[in-house]
Symmetry: C2
């Protein structure tokens, strides 16, 4: 313990969740498996247990760490069919994207039963998926570059979801 | 424009800031220049213009993008002298770390004039720096792995600072 009362605690226990996280993360085919693996790690930290990923990308265990044991990843050939099914199951479909009519992440009220739809690093969310979304949120940017890295943006949106919906002991 | 009214907008203009960001980011010698470069990119997105970095690490322009033209990076041999000076100049020193007596980032009220002190990927914030801090904040974690990547954690803390202190038009 330092004089200030602060002392580094490696591997502090996780906070309890009142129940299973209802959040699902849906990713298009990504340009970078590094970004995808980083998203898996952040999802693990947030207590997420379900991700939908397009194609058959390799998740890098050195990046995703033991999130790979917690997050169940469903591989699909495309997003629209599974998104339609999730919508029928009562999920709200929220895209993360700089788009026309996107709302600031600051003010967007998440519902627990949400699918967070991530955009491709360069191409964003394709029109066939945009058409299915209930809302699109974006993270305010104040300088250059004019957008966050896709994995960083996803991690920030996950944080905001947890801040609103999570419990912290 | 899609039927839903959502359409991808690449390079949407940045939000205006009422004045220069007062936030300063202070980094110890980091294990990974990739992480450091990712922090520079996120800092750029947040409108940050000043970072203090230990040693003479190479910032990867392909990762940091044009943040390298906006964020002025001061290279120092160690953090304590410059942190003491910043404290005298009225900055609040806030560490980002899982530590004893750390507060949840959810509830921590940032003041605009803040130095965000980042921890080393493995070693966290060293005791000589912890001793100088006014507060330590941590991001709640709900699953595995039990901690965020250092650059991801920093980006999330920057987001929370901007959410509280930033303006969004």
């Amino acid at each position: 313990m330092t004089d200030s009362g602060f002392s580094h605690q490696r591997h502090k226990p996780a906070a309890d969740l009142p129940g299973a996280r209802e959040l699902v993360i849906a990713c298009p085919p990504m340009r970078s498996n590094v970004n995808l693996s980083r998203i898996v790690r952040a999802a693990g930290c947030c207590g997420v247990t379900r991700m939908i990923v397009c194609g058959r990308p390799k998740i890098d265990r050195k990046i995703a760490r033991d999130a790979v044991d917690q997050v169940e990843i469903e591989f699909r050939s495309s997003l629209p069919p599974v998104l339609k099914k999730l919508k029928e199951d009562g999920y709200q479909l929220v895209g993360l994207e700089q788009a026309t009519n996107s709302q600031s992440l600051y003010e967007f009220p998440f519902v627990p039963r949400t699918v967070l739809v991530v955009g491709h690093e360069r191409l964003g969310i394709e029109d066939g998926v945009l058409n299915l979304l209930d809302f699109v949120v974006e993270i305010p940017v104040y300088g250059k570059p004019l957008s966050y890295n896709a994995a960083t943006a996803t991690s920030i949106a996950l944080y905001e979801y947890c801040r609103q919906c999570g419990s912290y002991k």
